[in-house]
Amino acid sequence: MNTATDQSWNDAYDRLVVYLRTYDLADHAHVARVALDLLQQAKDAYAKDSSREPTALTLSLAQEKITEWLAFNLPQADLSRSNLLSAGCIAILLSGAYRTAPGAFLTSPVPEEMRQALRESLISTGPDLNVSSMTPRHLDYGPMLQFARQTWHRIDLKELIVAVAFWVAVFVIFHWWLSQAL
């Protein structure tokens, strides 16, 4: 059996407090009480099974308790754990419970008005899909495509000579016309 040192429990406590503070509860004393309570529960669990390290044990316990607490207070208990935490945290945010009733965090039963506020703060993030098919229509790019395609697919000497001859002819005609005109 492993024996955890005081330092490892101190580390677990410090991490737990930092974690709980991320919920920004307005009642700091309540956070301290919750932390101590969770730490004690972790120590009790450790006494029975010391295979897990104190920090891992304490923080896992805290996350489990929070999920259970949310599951109890929200109507969506059938959700996966991650979705339940997600919905619950958004409900805490939107209801403002972290400010208005910080002392109720992880307590049971919570005041009915807070429970109601949490339930009313569940949100739907997006409208249902209403799928359309959007595909490009055929567009005939006209003579330029034919012209370009011939160039891309094969350039042989004969075509090159014809092209050069064409442009030379254009230039000569232009030159001749300007010489006459000016």
Partner: protein, 703 residues
Amino acid sequence: MSDPVLQPVSRTDGFVVRRSIFVTMSALLTAIGFVLMLDRYTGQVKFWEDYVVLAVFPLLFSQISVGFVLAIYGFFDKLRGGDPHHIMRGAWRKNEASIPLAATAIVVPVYNEDVGRVTRAVANMWRSLEKTGQIEHFDFYICSDSTHPDRWVEEECAWLSLCQKLNAFGKIFYRKRRHRINGKSGNVADFCRRWGKRYRYMVVMDADSVMIGPTLVRMVRAMEANPDAGIIQTQPYMVLGTSPFRRILQFSSHVYGGLFSQGCSMAQMASGSYWGHNAIIRVAAFIEYCDLPLLPVPDPGKRHVLSHDTVEAALMRRAGYGVWIAYEEPGSYEEGPPNLSDMLTRDRRWCAGNLQHFWFLFARGIEMGSRLQIWIGLMGYLCSPLWLITLVAGSFGSYFRQRFLMLSAEPEDLSAASITPTIELVALTFVLLFVPRILGILTTLPQAKSYGGGFRMIVSALLENLFSMLMAPVLMMFHSLFVLFTVLGVQIKWNPQNRADKGLSFRHCLKLYGWLSVLGLAGWPVTISYLGTAAWWLSPIFAGWILAPFLAWLTSGKGVGNFLIKCGLFVTPEEVNTPPELQGLNEDETEDDAKGGQPSPLWVQALLSPYVQAVHLALVRQGSTGKDETPPRSLADLRERLVREGPQAIPAKDAVRLLWHGETVFWLHQELWTRPKEQLHASWADLQSEAERSRLLKDYLLG
């Protein structure tokens, strides 16, 4: 699927006459210019460089002729009090208020933008719509293509905050696209495929766009009253500039922009322009006809149309729907690039896009008006290399002629060696270039009070002209390079647009524009020594090149911008009387500067903070239960690496991959909090401590 048949949309009696006059006037002016140019070469010995000049000249001259005719059209239309045949002046306006509105989505595509700025714009538009009493008909969609994980997570938190503040859950939606295919057009098309059927219209915005509620409502009513209208484009005016560069642009957009838009609308009517934002679109027609076709090029990576708006307008028109410019509607705004470098970044993108439009120029079924739009857009960039070719060829032609005459003629004949334009040609060019500007000023003068007063407005206009004159040769060089890069197939990187007025360092300006100064300083004396007096015609070009780094630097910062504001120069109506929709949009720009130095990445808060993670999971798992998300092996390795080596070891692209996988995000949340510190990278301890005071919580979720 059969090809759509072009319907004669809103072709009033005057339409053919208008377009005929437009084309005839443009062609006539070009022909006059060409004849005057030919006249200068008469009796001169000619070199091949001269033939190049003569070949290119009509193309160049046609562009200023077209601009001139558009301005004349715009001025005429203003004088007569607007176009009676315009869609926004139809009989429906008499009973406008009685026209019921239809479901309309306001689509805001974003790509690594300043999140605070975007959400404040959405909030302002929402409040403006609320005041009209018609908010129930509008939904907002923030459609993100952001590739930076910090921006993504911030956008999510901003969305929740926005919905909470405005009580807009179920009305403002956020969607992040997993695969960023086809840029902005793909983003909008993705919206159409997912939710297009829910709406009859969508108003497409840019990340910096703002429109006022009454105009949005009127646009919907205009579409309802005109079932053959496919797109109505408003005239967005540039606003909120503090840097001199942006202020000059917004001043010119106010003074001249409206005139050209009005002229364009009068000439084109239902074949108007669509600029990709601040426009309302008939969704069903857009879905049916406007998905962009692939370009017929051999390289599959280059088949996507980069600049979508002009093509979409052409396709909409091809399907028989009208594309109109609502040039008179107020309250449509955008922000311009804050400095020359950002404008060039944007221009490089636009250049590549516009040159692609060449394919549509000869495509079958495209309406003549759309071809004209494509041609104007194409020439907007092609003119630069053509102008450069003309300058170089003209200079060499003059030099060779001078040498030829020195060897073969009497000394007094040398004065005729250089081909300098005739006074008539110079006068005509000046008329074509400056009359539109004078007309713009004349039409704005009655509202001079909104521009800081008549005197300040005139001084601003003169300074703007001077600035444009010096910038033109700089733009010519860069645009020529962009055209060259595009033709050579150098890849265009689609950078997000910088919309903050942050100054450029002089070092940056020297690095980017210094070569132009060297070119100017070396080229000017050389040209003078070889060409003599003819070289003085090139002085403004050399002056622009020499001053380029200095001008770019001077016009980029807020310091000179504030001085201009104090002097009352480049004032625009929105500065004198700021509409509520524009208030507070850039309020935290100073704060943003400070944020730039924040060392820790924001995206890790989606792993550490329960609240940020909750928002992220709710959005990333829309419609999914999240129960069966076993991560692939590569992701499992990646997340373990993140835990062991810290976020700095994970590239942004991999961070985005991790964030897409809901179960991985949740797993990381658990692991990062439960693992003993010996099993975590040292940086996580600090990041955990920062989680309670993260900017995401302060600015959005707990603010």
